[in-house]
Symmetry: C2
Subunit: 598 residues, 2 copies
């Protein structure tokens, strides 16, 4: 069975040496963040994830969830208990304001805990993950009364949350949705309709489930401009906050899926269920986006999380399994064969995973910092820039990190050879679980369109310009720095490709609307590689700085950073040239085939 060790040391390096969070002490939650508190927090999360959540990952996969005739759902053995421990530790609401029952910790630390949780047990981590997303939407758009009614219980985890968007005939295109909301004289609404693919829609781990539901108020305009958001609890809370009557909604069935078996994916039937409007009517999609953006960053982080746990188990196997000899001749002549790790091609697979994963980790951490700046900084300009970065990078983190997540899980499974295909060894579960990240919260192709159609366009491309200026400024001031050329030069080259690709899209967009859409996917990966390349520069710089300041200490971690970073620069980053070429190959090679010829 796979094991998991949370990357605490790597995060301490990122927070202290790369992001230098002590320089952000002006942010409210950061000023209290002493190094011992930081270390204790990460160690606490690590222990829970390693010892309680991870051992249930295989169980969750093999048992799955069971729906009973009365519509109730049983989660896998041990899930409830583990979830209670998770709640008890305060991990659900850790990054939410204290006034609503959260812990007031930085979002940055929330990212760290999301990675640990999802790496240990993706299916289990989705329950609190979705709760956080729903709580964020209520926090941003709910009335004072709604916040008072729901948030404390949700952030304590005694109630969980869901997002009800998809219907059988519409997922991406929510403008088509049919679920109805009929206004009542008491200000509430009656919600009727069927939603599908509702993660954690019904289960036995919490007292109540708070459904956020997109529906169309009778008489509302067609399309996306007639969609409103409603809060529709499983049990209707009484005035004093206790559980009131059962609402008329139920789980009609649960799906049999490729993976994440431990999470119940429900068909939810709303049959004149009582709900209350969240935010303005007909502005529901806007409100839901708060939740979706949170969720997209979480899903991207999940891609990274599975990459790491898959890597750990592949690396352990490669060091242990004896098979064939090194190309240079026997390394362990006293053994019947050398360990797999001597083989260059096995190392190629492992380093590919690792270089992506550590780079991706830096990127989500950096984005977590931006989230804190955006929501907590006193400087409006800093807030605006940080918000721009988050908007720009959300689709990239979701799209690129989850594509890497699948590919990384496949590579890790490949290291195990035939044994990787056997269920009991757990490597194939990582592949099946990782696959969902590319699909839900907006399929990756939709992320690419969001990036190219909106994020690099809004405000005359302000966000991208600002990000490119930041990277360029960084590179320009490190050109002569000792040991940095191997990192700075390739990233500069790739940045030029990114600018050229951006330019091409801007120009062609007006001539042929298909061009930008045809270029979107490759462009998203191009930007992802540049952003992660920038992170590798910053990690290399931090490693070099620390090595210079204490040359005698044990520096395997720092040395590994530099070697892994070089692998990224020499073997992964060059893909930017291919992506740039594909972008400007235009839409014609994609659009020329008549529909009926497919």
């Amino acid at each position: 069975m796979p094991s998991y060790k949370a990357p605490v040391a790597d995060y301490l390096f990122l927070l202290n040496d790369v992001l230098q969070i002590e320089r952000h002490a002006e942010l409210p939650a950061y000023s209290d963040l002493s190094v011992p508190l930081l270390e204790a927090t990460l160690a606490g999360a690590a222990r829970l994830c390693e010892e309680v959540l991870a051992p249930l990952n295989r169980v969750g996969d093999s048992e799955g969830c069971t729906r009973h005739e009365d519509g109730s759902v049983t989660t896998p053995k041990g899930f409830s208990n583990a979830y209670r421990q998770y709640c008890k530790g305060g991990w659900v609401g850790m990054s939410f304001p204290e006034e609503f029952g959260g812990q007031g910790l930085p979002s940055l630390l929330g990212v760290v805990v999301t990675e640990f949780t999802s790496a240990a047990n993706l299916a289990l981590g989705m329950y609190p993950g979705l709760t956080r997303g729903a709580a964020a939407a209520l926090l941003a758009h709910g009335t004072l009364e709604q916040k008072a009614t729901y948030l404390a219980n949700m952030l304590a985890g005694t109630w969980t949350g869901t997002m009800n968007l998809t219907e059988a005939h519409c997922g991406t295109d929510l403008g088509l949705l049919r679920t109805r909301a009929v206004p009542q004289s008491d200000g509430s609404y009656r919600i009727s309709g069927t939603k599908i693919f509702i993660s954690a829609g019904e289960h036995d781990m919490a007292e109540n489930i708070v459904h956020l539901v997109l529906a169309r108020i009778d008489g509302a305009p067609a399309g996306v401009k007639g969609i409103s958001l409603f809060v529709v609890p499983k049990f209707i809370p009484t005035a004093d906050g206790a559980l009131g009557p059962r609402n008329s909604l139920s789980c009609g069935s649960i799906e049999h899926k490729m993976g994440i078996h431990g999470n119940s994916t429900c068909v939810m039937n709303f049959d004149n269920a009582t709900g209350w409007l969240v935010g303005e009517s007909n502005r529901g999609l806007n409100a839901m986006f708060t939740m979706m953006n949170e969720a997209r960053l979480m899903v991207g982080t999940n891609g990274l999380a599975i990459s790491d746990v898959a890597y750990q188990n592949a690396a352990a196997y490669a060091k242990e399994r004896l098979q064939s000899r090194s190309p240079r001749g026997p390394k362990l002549p006293e053994k019947p064969a050398d360990p797999l790790i001597v083989h260059p091609d096995v190392r190629r697979m492992l380093l590919t995973i690792r270089a992506r994963t550590e780079g991706a980790r830096a990127l989500v951490a950096w984005t977590g910092l931006q989230q804190d700046i955006a929501s907590r900084s006193g400087d409006p300009q800093a807030r605006e820039r940080a918000e721009d970065y988050m908007g720009l990078l959300t689709p990239v983190i979701k799209g690129v990190l989850t594509d890497w997540g699948l590919d990384n899980a496949v590579l890790a499974q490949q290291v195990w050879g035939g044994h990787g295909y056997i269920a009991e060894n757990g490597m194939e579960q990582f592949v099946r679980d990782a696959r969902i990240n590319q699909i839900y919260e907006g399929a990756n192709g939709v992320q690419a369109l969001d990036l190219v159609g909106r994020k690099i366009v809004w405000n005359s491309g302000r966000a991208l310009k600002s990000f490119i200026a930041e990277v360029k400024g960084y590179l320009d001031t490190r050109t002569q720095a000792q040991g940095m050329a191997a990192f700075v030069d390739p990233v500069r080259e790739s940045l030029v490709r990114l600018e050229a690709a951006t330019c091409w899209i801007s120009k062609s967009r007006n001539e042929n609307p298909d061009d930008a859409a045809a270029a979107a996917y490759d462009y998203m990966h191009l930007l992802g590689l540049v952003a992660v390349g920038y992170m590798w520069c910053r990690m290399a710089e931090a490693a070099l700085t620390r090595m210079a300041s204490a040359p005698d200490r044990d520096n395997q971690h720092l040395n590994s950073k530099l070697i892994t970073g070089r692998f990224f620069m020499e073997r992964l980053l060059p893909e930017t040239a291919l992506l740039r070429e594909r972008v400007s190959s235009g839409a014609d090679n994609i659009m020329a085939l008549p529909d009926e010829a497919f």
Copy 2:
């Protein structure tokens, strides 16, 4: 549930227009191959695969195989019956010599039927597939008596075959194997040991199972030079060919796997089982390679097969599912949304699968022709060249086509969005099934090492030189041909990259033995893209020729070829530059990290 339509028209185009098989009438089996016979053969195979095998693919996945306490194994409902029809059609031994009960048809047609079979039902197709591999090994290395005893029943399918190589501690590194063979006074051997991952090791579809087993004769040298091959039947045939006593071998358990659930993957226990030497003692690996090379071509073809069936179901969904609007504005304003097929990014995914799949199909067909030339031509030089090509391209077909197979299945699943993750829709099964092709019959990393360490080295690189000369000769004579520049020019550019990469490997090999191994994987993909690029040139030429000769006929198939080929040239082939750069980045970025730092 997915459906399947065998690509008969595409194969007729390949056989008649691209490979022009009528020009090979000098080959024994080809002279009888009239166009009507060819069409009837393909249509017959297509019908069986579409109507009998394909509908059982989901059943096989959801039911799987069951082992009973007595060691017997039940295959999924319907498998036995379908298999009987497959045998009755003569498809098991179709490409084997008539004197041993085969049909004497070209290997080229065997490739076609393998694609149809595996696309329809990979797990079911493995039973006859392995039988063919075992029969090929007996045909090449067995005694006259062995051939007489086994081949007719195997080629009729009433007996099936297996290959028993892997043991728990060794898969790739067969030199470590421990299964023992003790010589008996009657010339037989007693075989004892445990083999794992034995596909079709036990089942209820045939009267007898003929195990080919690698074992070490007592006193034989250690390592690969002490391995012998044995035939070890489940029931020992009597002198008159009937089933005799049950041999002392049994299925100890069956594996729970990620996919191919319909095939029973067995742990096989040999407990003083009676076996007979096949070929020379201590030359077993050599004999087994006959089987493995057959099997590797089959597995590569399986990668292509799953790509095609996944494509078909993704394309059908894309044309039917209404979601969002074209970037150019509504295409079907009367409908609530446009079909997915209007979206450039959906077309990008579909065309990626298709350009690889049709190119790969041409490559396996071309290799099937080489197989026939190698085994049946009267011209020794032609035989030698064809054998060279097969040796060179076997690892490429296995490694590249199966990597594409997984990636293609993932893309096809992605077109289905969330519905692709649901088991009932069958798209996720393609992904799980496709995954095994990258692992078994030598993991793809091992294929790459075979290519770089042996195939491009043997006889001073004769095979590669000959292949490069063929491609170059082809390109040089088409440079001025009408409409061919869009195909010839990019392939020429990629060929230059292949030569540069080859040169780099040859030079660095002597300085650093890790360099070739570090470059192997990317080199394999580079050669694969060039080979498939060459096939696209030949397909484009054939399409242009036919369009010129009959400009008025319905030419959607030909027109699609040219468009799909252009997509290959503009969006896929450019990856050769990236691969070439990776090859010459050297082993240092892979070897620098100390083992313990992984």
